[in-house]
Symmetry: C2
Subunit: 456 residues, 2 copies
């Protein structure tokens, strides 16, 4: 079934391309792999197990030439199976490999991955990476470097595991102006929220269960505080809106302040609670934020449970499209990495430079969070005496926040407090923050238990 390459193929390195010379037929595409962890190990396995199918797709074999590993990786059974001569712990030796057309980076983290990616690109290698942090923080610089050296930089695996997302933004939706992205892109938090919603458990025990099952790390802050989601949203928003959104541009709130009572009220009011990564685009502005939201329980995103991810895109031509699947894990991530490798190999064989581009349009500003306009859910613990609701309503009214519904729970006779839940009509974030501040100073308000934005 293996088909030999035919026809004249382009040359590979930046230097050679500048000479404009067409050289040899390409007999194979050489791959260098950095990292033999969960993702890297699986990528190596797929490249070998599926060599025949992949060669058929590309037109010639993809051959693993060199693997950069840590000392500790050399003891792994997989390393021995693959043949130790493939491995090096030395980056210089790795980059000295002459038959390497594509570098796959599966190390993760900011450094030394960033340094390696720059070395690969400026050495004229096409690059495939699953590294969300590096792309989120340094994407613009790296894409510019790729363009300078006439090679491709691909990062499909950096967001949403095996779910096709980057390619759709760069290719399938290319004729669209994208107006909004609404994404569940962190499996750990979605698992925790699903347990809290289904079982009425509190945050701490849902997190503990997620850790026991391996869905959350021992240090879960990156996930539960929303940091991981900001990396992924920065990448999606940058590609969709043709600009450079940095993680620190994104307003970010995690899920740890959610209480089982919020889920109870959400259900009563017809909502689910999800950690959403939201990006919207207007003519001159971009809005980017990650925080818990109320979404209508009949919406598709509300049905996305457990560790699954889903990304809803709104655009002028295509309307609403949604992509759903496993957002992490070795197998789905390797699916995306290998697809990128095949695409890079096809670029190399076509010889016309890379199609993987990051188009930048200047002039968009990031809208300050204070200008957000949305509906709010508000849960307050108040003194159980007459006139309190009137006081609360007055503070909200003073800030032009109008109430759409109120639930008042039967008072607790021991503490002499009552719980009030308020849903507002659309209001401005600046006004809401000021109102919350004033409510906090009212003697009758014992505690502002929570406030959650609503996304319709």
């Amino acid at each position: 079934m293996m088909r030999k390459c035919s026809g004249q193929f382009g040359t590979l390195s930046g230097a050679r391309i500048k000479l404009g010379v067409k050289e040899l037929k390409k007999q194979s595409i050489g791959i260098g792999l950095m990292g033999l962890g969960v993702v890297g190990g699986e990528v190596a396995r797929v490249l070998m197990d599926k060599a025949e199918v992949l060669a058929e797709q590309v037109g010639c074999p993809l051959v693993l030439r060199k693997v950069k590993v840590l000392e500790s990786d050399l003891a792994k059974p997989q390393a021995k199976e693959m043949g130790l001569q493939l491995f090096t712990t030395d980056a210089d030796e790795f980059f000295a490999e002459p038959e390497m057309d594509i570098v796959v980076e599966a190390i993760g983290g900011e450094e030394p991955a960033l340094d390696y990616l720059k070395r690969a690109l400026s050495g004229g290698k096409h690059v495939v990476t699953s590294n969300k942090e590096v792309i989120a923080k340094h994407g613009a610089e790296l894409f510019a470097l790729a363009q300078q050296y006439g090679v491709g930089l691909r990062c499909e695996a950096s967001v949403g595991g095996g779910i096709p997302l980057i390619a759709p933004f760069q290719q399938d939706l290319v004729a669209n102006k994208i107006s909004g992205i609404y994404a569940i892109i962190n499996g750990t938090t979605n698992y925790i929220l699903t347990r809290m919603a289904r079982e009425g458990t509190d945050f701490a025990s849902a997190l503990k269960r997620a850790q026991e099952l391996g869905y959350a790390e021992a240090n879960p802050e990156d996930d539960v505080d929303g940091i991981d989601a900001t990396y992924k949203l920065a990448i999606l928003a940058s590609l969709a809106f043709h600009c450079q959104v940095q993680p620190q541009d994104i307003h970010c709130e995690g899920i740890s302040r959610l209480d089982s009572r919020d889920f109870k009220y959400a259900r009563e009011l017809g909502f689910a609670i999800k950690l959403l990564a939201i990006a919207k685009q207007g003519d001159s502005w971009i809005e980017v934020r990650v925080h818990p939201v109320f979404i209508p329980e009949e919406s598709l995103l509300a049905k996305v449970d457990g560790v699954y991810n889903a990304i809803l895109v709104e655009a002028d031509l295509v309307g609403k499209v949604l992509f759903y699947g496993e957002g992490a894990g070795a197998l789905p991530t390797s699916s995306a990495v290998v697809a990128d490798v095949v695409s890079a190999a096809q670029d190399i064989i076509a010889g016309g430079g890379s199609r993987a581009r990051w188009r930048l349009e200047p002039g968009k500003i990031i809208k300050p969070m204070s200008e957000l306009e949305t509906r709010y859910y508000l849960r307050l613990n108040v003194a159980d005496r007459p006139g309190v609701l009137a006081q609360v309503s007055k503070v909200l009214g003073d800030h032009l926040i109008s109430i759409s519904s109120v639930i008042q729970q039967a008072a607790d006779s021991v503490s002499q407090t009552a719980e009030i839940v308020i849903m507002t009509h659309p209001a401005q974030e600046r006004e809401m923050q000021q109102a919350l501040d004033e409510l906090g100073h009212l003697a009758s308000v014992k505690q502002i238990c929570n406030f959650i934005r609503v996304e319709a």
Copy 2:
């Protein structure tokens, strides 16, 4: 913002490619459009309205060179806006246009579209089509022709409107072995089923409403009988499984035999009823079928309502991924067509032939429907007398069909009949068909009202 093309680009026509000569820099990509109906008109509009963004993406402008229309189209305001010199009603004149690199076919139907597509491909033009019928019936022949002439044949818009589906199968999921496709790919039937489920209306009035709203045609048979879904499934299965599935290979049942009572029981039993296009692949076999199914009400596909489409794909690496969006309409379809045009233009500029391939692996057989094994829902109208359920159970038991649950409705005193609803454990289709035949001959069974397969 417009960027000039740079670098050496490949030549275009099949004949020239054979000479292996590199000629001029490409200053623009010429488009020929066939058809100015709902889709064609919108494609023309997008190509003009978004010219700048598309040129940026491709590297040089996409220029509409010639539009093949019907006499009646010439009176359209759009034709006058675009300038009548662009138009011709004569196919020979259309194909004689020298500056045409890509032909977009938006005529629909089998002929003359098939003839035009062959002319375009054998004339060395890259082709983009939204024509599901031609691709479903003649895909293999047309892809072979494209390969022979070194050009691309793209058909993203033929299935699922603007939802990226073909590209994911051909690119993003390229490292996967796809085991199953479960698709809601006909908006008309999904709209009708949604109304029947929500409002308890019968098929005839739900169809009438769909026709009034323009969601169903005056002659709705292609949609409601499942024909349209078989075209789309033939395309998806062929691409996903690397084989040639013809529409006539697909077992097909429409939705007209569904009754409001079936929806009532489905809800009681925890299911939704959807018209699913299902394709599964084993080592040596393929299973392809379109018919109404019971699916668990908590599954994502069960939540896909109205005219929306959704396609669930199961594969070895990526697990489950789902694509959701508007499956029809001028805007979404034009999104897919124009994305294909951009991709073809990028191929032309890269000069290395086309990436759009249809890989064929021989040796798969289509599993006969009789070998299907699944659960069944069965609704019977029986005489209201003792021992009837025992008779029915015996017939099923004789065919190794075991019952998982039974609902028996209170008898109707006038007709002296009762309704029995049976859910079975997994059973073989051959046995079920024989059992249905025998049940039909029992004196106590007045009518086999319906039987519906269950997909877990």
